[in-house]
């Protein structure tokens, strides 16, 4: 009898905790969206890092006209990128790249929840480029 009460209570408490947990963290479909958002944030960061061009060379880098493997090979004394890095993994569309002038750039993506993607980055990742969750754009400047 006591065993039945204990087991029933265990099952009820665990079920209640699981339901609460799922309600608070979102269903798997929601989790998938977050995962794509995190990937977007990471890829924008990676692109911005390359465009920022930390290598110190005598000639000032001139931002490429477009994002492509070829343009990156010639940029900043030679950098490596793969084509899939420029493409949104969910939609298959390329990220928007805006060249404001020879030095200033913006790379943008369409996020479900950009603020959340931003918050999920490790606390130690501090960059020298700016992310605007309202526009979904990462802006920066080649050195």
């Amino acid at each position: 009898m006591a065993t039945r009460v204990f087991l029933t209570a265990t099952v009820l408490v665990v079920l209640a905790a699981i339901v609460t947990g799922i309600a608070m963290t979102g269903r798997p479909s929601q989790a998938r969206k977050e995962k794509f958002d995190q990937l977007r944030y990471r890829e924008l960061t990676a692109i911005a890092r390359i465009l920022h061009c930390e290598k110190k060379s005598d000639t000032r880098p001139v931002l490429p006209k477009e994002l492509s493997e070829d343009s990156f090979r010639e940029y900043c004394g030679g950098t490596t990128a793969t084509a899939d890095m420029f493409v949104d993994n969910e939609t298959g569309k390329p990220y928007r790249y805006r060249r404001l002038n020879d030095r200033d750039f913006a790379v943008c993506a369409k996020f479900y929840d950009a603020r959340k993607a931003m918050r999920s980055r490790p606390f130690w990742s501090i960059h020298t480029y700016a992310f605007n969750p309202a526009s979904g754009c990462m802006t920066g400047r080649a050195y």
Binding site: F6, L7, T10, V14, I18, G21, M24, T25, R119, F123
Partner: protein, 213 residues
């Protein structure tokens, strides 16, 4: 008889030499052996007039018992640990601490999902194993039943103690890192409630076992 227990060996030799049970009892008592030890050693042999002494069958834990109970208590430990983890994760999200790191939310979500996955596996396994072993034990009689139950109980108490030590250490570490908020209190309460309910549920079994003797 190949017994490593000196009292049992003595009882065997004395019975073989034709001594009565009362004589053996007195001799052992005078030598300082506890009554329970003496009774246990005497009960190892059937009370029949036959030489050499006839041993009674003795209950033993089989490899199968070990498998079943090891699985049962692993499932119990995982259920307890991850139930606590899940509630802690929910508390982290529900009562965010301004002193938390910026990615605390993401870490809490990760923790919650991991805990849910574990519980979906471990809880049904634990419930099913408990019902299964309960039915098996109901078929067993006398000493075998109490032997298994004793092992079951002490393993459960061990699991519960491990849960308590591990989780209370974690909660206290958070406290020392400055989490002295309502959330800390609720987390500590969760650890206490889960450990205590396991502890008392299985302690009841020890008591029942003692009454049975």
């Amino acid at each position: 008889m190949a017994s490593s227990d000196p009292v049992t060996r003595f009882v065997h030799d004395a019975l073989a030499a034709g001594r009565s049970r009362t004589e053996i009892q007195n001799a052992l008592s005078e030598a300082g052996w506890a009554k329970s030890d003496v009774d246990k050693a005497l009960s190892a042999f059937a009370d029949v007039d036959f030489t050499p002494p006839v041993p009674r069958p003795r209950p033993q834990l089989t490899a199968r018992d070990v498998f079943v109970y090891a699985l049962l208590f692993t499932a119990l430990t995982f259920t307890a640990v991850y139930l606590i983890n899940l509630v802690h994760g929910i508390l982290d999200l529900a009562l965010p601490d301004p002193a938390d790191r910026s990615n605390a939310e993401a870490r809490a979500i990760y923790r919650i999902r991991w805990a849910i996955a574990t519980l979906i596996v471990s809880t049904p396994l634990y419930v099913w194993m408990t019902i299964f072993t309960g039915r098996q034990n109901a078929k067993q009689v006398g000493e075998k039943r109490s032997l298994v139950r004793r092992w079951l109980t002490y393993l459960a108490l061990f699991a519960s103690a491990l849960t308590f030590f591990g989780d209370i250490t974690y909660v206290l570490e958070r406290f020392l890192e400055g989490e002295f908020t309502l959330r800390f209190l609720l987390k500590a309460l969760t650890v206490g409630a889960v450990s205590a309910s396991i502890f008392f549920f299985y302690l009841r079994d020890v008591e029942a076992d003692r009454d049975g003797h």
